[in-house]
Amino acid sequence: MSEPAFTLKATGRLRRRQLVNQAMGALALAAALLAVAVLAIVVISVARRGAGSLNLDFFTQSQAQGFNPKGGGVLFAIVGTFVLVGIASLIALPLGVLTAIYISELATPRLARIGRMALDITNGIPTIVIGIFVFTVLVAAHGQSAFAGSLALSIIMLPIIARSTEEVLLLVPPAQREASLALGVSRWRTTVQVVIPSAMGGILTGTTLAIARVAGETAPLLFLTSLGVASHADANPFHPLSSLTLVIFEYSEQASPDYQSKAWAAAFILMCFVLFTSLTAKLALARYRKKLEG
């Protein structure tokens, strides 16, 4: 048998194409690694600088008093963050879910399109602008309060919750709605009893993502609620309260190394809170799915 007059090995242009192929694959891998590395670097550097300053006092004490004091903690800011985010969620969750129900279950296609667009635009408004808006309608007349800050945060949360809820409502099969309607159940009861429970996982995830997002907001809070330190924790939403983000903002500009290490520590616990909330949401969703599927 004679040698074939051709080869099946890569030669010439094909060889070059294969090199390009490998190079681009390597580049894509590097980019993906970089994205993961950025997360790792941020988490590690914040943890290294912040974890060291953590102690029980940091969570249980508020700022010690006196000139350039040492010791104390940020309990006031932790409580403030919970009050701010808690009230914002109480406002945004029902409004967001109702908005989503209107858009996906009740509105005509044209109104639904307008509604979706409005939510997307709201989502794109710079948060500082939302802060200024709340400042003019609330703070200018009534003074700073945690409630004003919550209102700004709820405006940020609303489109996130509404859009993610609406997306999962659309995923609920029409056959589920038909099954209920065919039993002589009204539209609203069908939505509440059949559609919402099927979509609950998505609603919870959307809400948690919104919470994680606004827990890290600083800009809209700067002039709505309190900057500065407090010697005791306060949970009254009609007082100006501080928050973890405001503490990070303020302490990091101080000359005192004690304040700076507290800023890192506050950054660390805020980061942990956000990671924890996201993970909890994911786990809750997984358990919910498992229950659904039996």
Binding site: A175, E178, L183, G184
Partner: protein, 279 residues
């Protein structure tokens, strides 16, 4: 072509007219249904009688599902749907002023092509409608009765709290039937209830329909002629009318006792269809 005809078994029935002195449940008079400007079915005149199984057969696109969904106003969910003519349910104009579609659907239940149990337990699936409609007395007993009536009780009585999604397709469909009859409707509409099921489950559903006939008026849409021949007392054959301008819509070609439709139809189009020649 003749082989198909011989395969269709028509049950031996007594020669007395099937209808007898039964009460009319649905009376359609010149009933047309439209989606937007598009006519889906044209001028249907049809009377459906109490405690019989009435089958609606016909080729795809002839509007048989549309007709069925008009009977319990499920078509109201399609915003562009409208009707002309008249449809009476036990004497009352179903599309008359003041008639509430939700109340209509409570009295006229429906079982769908694909089993659509809720994502909850077997028990909660059956109890769902009763809870909302306020039928809360002896809920356990009612759930059991509905499951027994749907011939599912023995298979699920030990796992009522388990998810309905763990049941087989045939069991899920019987669960959907239990759910539909649990709210004590007067009529149950079946929209190709066995087309997604295997032959054994199909046969279970058909046996069940024979049982249910004692208490309910049943209307079944099916594209399976053997099934219509097996279960139905009366059969309506819908055909497809194609106009020179290209528009197409369904018309009622023939409506008679099932035995007559399958052995001695009056209309050549019916004969063509039931013998396997599309007419």
């Amino acid at each position: 072509m003749e082989t198909i005809k011989t395969k269709i078994e028509v049950k031996e029935r007594d020669r007395l007219p099937v209808i007898g002195d039964r009460e009319a449940v649905f009376e359609a008079r010149d009933l047309s249904v439209f989606y937007g400007d598009q006519r889906a079915i044209d001028s249907v005149n049809l009377t459906i009688y109490q405690r019989l199984i009435t089958a609606i057969i016909g080729p795809s696109g002839c509007g048989k599902s549309t007709f069925l969904r008009t009977l319990n106003r499920m078509n109201d969910l399609v915003p562009s749907a409208s009707i002309s003519g008249e449809l009476r349910y036990r004497g009352i104009d179903l599309y008359g002023p003041g008639v509430d579609a939700v109340e209509v659907r409570r009295r006229i239940g429906m079982v769908f092509q694909k089993p659509n149990p809720f994502h909850s337990s077997i028990y909660d699936n059956v109890a769902f409608g009763m809870r909302i409609l306020g039928m809360k007395k002896d809920l356990d007993g009612r759930v059991e009765n509905a499951l027994r009536a749907a011939a599912l009780w023995d298979e699920v009585k030990d796992r009522l709290k388990d998810s309905a999604l763990g049941l087989s397709g045939g069991q899920q469909q019987r669960l959907c039937i239990a759910r539909a009859i649990a709210v004590e409707p007067e009529v149950v509409l079946f929209d190709e209830p066995a087309s997604a099921l295997d032959p054994i489950s199909t046969s279970a559903i058909e046996d069940l329909m024979h049982e249910l006939k004692r208490d309910y008026t049943l209307v079944i849409v099916t594209h399976n002629m053997q099934q219509a021949a097996r279960v139905a007392d009366m059969t309506a054959f819908f055909g497809l009318e194609v106009k020179p301008d290209g528009s197409r819509y369904g018309v009622l070609v023939e409506y008679d006792e099932t035995a007559k439709i399958f052995t001695n139809p009056s209309d050549p189009r019916t004969e063509g269809y039931v013998t396997g020649r599309f007419g």
